[in-house]
C-alpha cells in the first residue's frame, strides 16, 4: 500500500475504534461510589476503570491471536469476546456478593419493569435508593457494551500493529491511550452513573459520538504522522 492509503486506513481504524469505545462505555451499568453502598444500580466502580479493565483483558487475548492470525476481524472479535467474558464474570460475581453478602436483590431504579425479562422492579427496591445490584437488563446491556468496547480497542491495536507498523507493546500503549481519551469523553457525557441502554442518560449518546469522532480523527492523524516519521517502529 502507498503511504497515503496507509495513513487513511490507520485514521479510519482509529476513528472506528474510538467511536466504538464511546458507544461501549454508554452501555455499561456504572454505579460508581453509590453502587458500593447498594444505593444505586450498577457496578461499584468508575466508568473509565471498568471499561478499561474489560478492554485491556480483551487486548491481551487479541494480541495473542494477532501472532497467529492476520485477519483484522478475527483479532478484533477475539478482543471483543475477552472483554465480554471479563464483564460477564464481574457482573455475575457482583450480584452474588450483593445477594449473599448484603441480602440485596438486583433491581433497576430507572424503569418499573425490566424491558427484557418483564420482571417488576419497584416492589423490590429499597426506599431512598436508586436501585441496587445488576438487574438482567443492565447485565445484558453491559455485556453488549463490553463486546463493542473490546472490539474497538482490539481493532485499533491491529491497525497500529500491522498498518502503522508499531512494535506490539507500543501499539498496545497507543491503542490504550486513544481508548482512554474516548472513554473519558464518554464518562463526562454520562456524568456519574448510568444503568445501560434503558437509562434516560443514554439519549445523550450522539453528542459523545460526535466528540469522539473528532478526537479519534486527531489521534489517528497524529499516529499516522508518527508512523511515517518512524520514531516508534
Amino acid at each position: 500500500m502507498d503511504p497515503i492509503t496507509i495513513l487513511l486506513v490507520v485514521v479510519v481504524c482509529v476513528i472506528v475504534g474510538g467511536v466504538f469505545a464511546s458507544l461501549g462505555v454508554h452501555l455499561l451499568p456504572v454505579g460508581g461510589a453509590p453502587a458500593a453502598m447498594g444505593t444505586a444500580t450498577g457496578i461499584a466502580t468508575g466508568t473509565i476503570m471498568l471499561m478499561l479493565g474489560a478492554a485491556v483483558t480483551g487486548l491481551f487475548t487479541a494480541s495473542t491471536v494477532a501472532t497467529f492470525s492476520k485477519n483484522i476481524l478475527l483479532v478484533a472479535l477475539s478482543g471483543a469476546v475477552g472483554s465480554w467474558i471479563m464483564m460477564g464474570v464481574t457482573m455475575l460475581m457482583a450480584n452474588i456478593i450483593y445477594a449473599f453478602g448484603a441480602g440485596v436483590v438486583p433491581v433497576s431504579g430507572r424503569v418499573e419493569v425490566d424491558p427484557i425479562t418483564k420482571e417488576p422492579q419497584t416492589p423490590y427496591k429499597t426506599p431512598q435508593c436508586d436501585g441496587h445490584g445488576v438487574p438482567n437488563v443492565s447485565y445484558i446491556s453491559g455485556m453488549v457494551g463490553a463486546f463493542i468496547g473490546g472490539f474497538g480497542g482490539a481493532f485499533m491495536y491491529f491497525a497500529l500493529l500491522n498498518y502503522a507498523k508499531f512494535e506490539p507493546t507500543m501499539a498496545a500503549i497507543a491503542a490504550i491511550g486513544i481508548f482512554v481519551a474516548n472513554a473519558i469523553l464518554a464518562a463526562y457525557n454520562i456524568g456519574g452513573t448510568i444503568e445501560g441502554f434503558h437509562d434516560p442518560k443514554f439519549k445523550r449518546l450522539p453528542k459523545a459520538l460526535f466528540s469522539c469522532f473528532f478526537v479519534s480523527l486527531f489521534c489517528g492523524v497524529f499516529v499516522g504522522m508518527v508512523a511515517f516519521i518512524g520514531g516508534l517502529i
Binding site: A33, A35, A36, M37, G38, T39, I43, A44, T45, G46, M49, L52, G53, A54, V56, T57, F60, T61, S63, T64, V65, A66, T67, F68, S69, N71, L74, L77, S78, V81, G82, W84, I85, M86, G88, V89, T90, M91, L92, M93, N95, I96, I97, Y98, A99, G101, A102, G103, V104, V105, P106, E119, Y124, T126, P127, C129, N136, Y139, P168, T169
Partner: protein
C-alpha cells in the same frame, strides 16, 4: 514439538489462574485495609456529618490506576533485573518490594493529607492508626503485586517455559508484550475487578453493619458509618478480617475465573484448530474456534445471571418495611 509441551501450556495456565486468584483477593483486602475504594466516600463524609472515626483513609485515586502504577513499577524493576541475568526468584520479589515502597509513600501522604483536610470538621489524625495500618497495607499489596508480576513473567516466557525453542530469534507462544506492559494490563484489570466486586462487601455490609441487613443503604445513612467494633472502636483491621471471609475470596475468584476462561478458550481454540503443538505459521480456524468458545461461555453467563436474579427475587421477596 512433542505433545508434552501442550500439557505444560495447560499446566502453566492453571498456575497463572491460581496466582490471579491470590492476587485479586489480596488486592481487595488491601483496598479494605487502606480504604482505597468507592466506600471510602463514606469515610470521607463521616467527619463532615459529625461522625469522628478511626478509619484509615487513603483514596488518592481509583484502584485500577493505582495498581497499574504499583505493578508497572514492580514489573520494570523486575524486567531490568532479569536483563542483568538475576534469577526470577530474586528479581520478581525485589520488583514487588520496590512497588510497595511507592505504595506506602502514597498511603502515608494520602492519609495525612486527607485527614488534615478534615481539620475543620474536628477529625483528629490518630498516629497509632497511621502506623498500625502501613504494614498491613504493604504486606497485602506486596502479595498482590508479587502475583501480578509473576503472572506477567510467566506469560511473557510461556513458550520458553513450556519447552518451545526459538524460531528466527522468537520463541513461539511467548507473549508479544514486554513484561512491564503485561504487569500494567493485569494491574489495571485487578484494580478494576477489586473495585467492582470487592467493594460491595465492605461498603454495603461492613461499613453500615448497625443498619438493617437485606436492603440497599439509604441516602439518609450516608456518612453515618459503623464506628464501634465487636470490642472497642473500629479500625480497618476489624474490617479486613471480616471481608477476608467472603468479599475477598469472591473477588479473587472473579479474576481467577476470568483468566481461566480467557486462557482456556484461546488454548483450546489453538488445539482444535491444529495450531498446537507446532505453534508455527498462521491459523484463522484456531482464532475462530477461540471466539466461538468465548461466545458460548458469555451466553452461559447471561443465562446464569437470569437464573440467579430469578432465584434471589423468589427467595428474598419484595421489599418489606418502611
Amino acid at each position: 514439538m512433542p505433545i508434552e509441551a501442550v500439557a505444560m501450556l495447560f499446566a502453566w495456565m492453571l498456575v497463572i489462574v491460581f496466582l490471579a486468584l491470590i492476587a485479586c483477593m489480596f488486592e481487595d483486602l488491601e483496598s479494605d485495609t487502606g480504604s482505597q475504594s468507592n466506600p471510602n466516600s463514606q469515610v470521607q463524609l463521616a467527619a463532615q456529618v459529625g461522625q469522628v472515626h478511626r478509619f484509615f483513609n487513603k483514596a488518592i485515586s481509583g484502584e485500577a490506576p493505582a495498581y497499574a502504577m504499583y505493578c508497572t513499577t514492580a514489573g520494570v524493576i523486575a524486567y531490568v533485573l532479569l536483563l542483568k541475568e538475576i534469577h526470577p526468584i530474586l528479581a520478581i520479589p525485589i520488583g514487588a518490594a520496590v512497588g510497595e515502597v511507592f505504595h506506602v509513600i502514597f498511603a502515608t501522604t494520602a492519609h495525612i493529607g486527607r485527614t488534615a483536610g478534615s481539620k475543620r470538621f474536628e477529625q483528629p489524625l490518630y498516629l497509632d492508626v497511621l502506623y498500625g495500618h502501613l504494614l498491613p497495607i504493604a504486606t497485602h499489596g506486596f502479595m498482590a503485586v508479587l502475583c501480578i508480576v509473576s503472572i506477567a513473567y510467566i506469560q511473557s516466557n510461556l513458550g520458553t517455559l513450556s519447552g518451545y525453542l526459538p524460531v528466527d530469534g522468537v520463541t513461539p507462544l511467548d507473549h508479544p508484550f514486554a513484561l512491564p506492559m503485561l504487569a500494567f494490563i493485569w494491574g489495571i484489570t485487578v484494580g478494576a475487578i477489586g473495585s467492582s466486586t470487592g467493594d460491595i462487601h465492605y461498603g454495603t455490609e461492613r461499613e453500615f453493619q448497625d443498619r438493617p441487613f437485606g436492603e440497599g443503604k439509604r441516602v439518609v445513612y450516608h456518612g453515618k458509618i459503623t464506628r464501634y467494633a465487636d470490642c472497642g472502636i473500629r479500625t480497618q483491621k476489624d474490617i479486613v478480617g471480616f471481608c477476608a471471609k467472603y468479599g475477598g475470596p469472591c473477588t479473587g475468584m472473579t479474576f481467577g475465573t476470568i483468566i481461566l476462561f480467557e486462557n482456556w478458550r484461546t488454548l483450546v481454540g489453538m488445539m482444535l484448530g491444529r495450531f498446537l503443538p507446532a505453534a508455527t505459521g498462521f491459523s484463522d480456524i484456531a482464532a475462530m474456534l477461540g471466539i466461538v468458545i468465548g461466545l458460548v461461555i458469555g451466553i452461559a453467563l447471561i443465562f446464569g445471571n437470569v437464573a440467579f436474579v430469578k432465584w434471589a427475587r423468589k427467595r428474598y421477596g419484595p421489599f418489606v418495611g418502611e
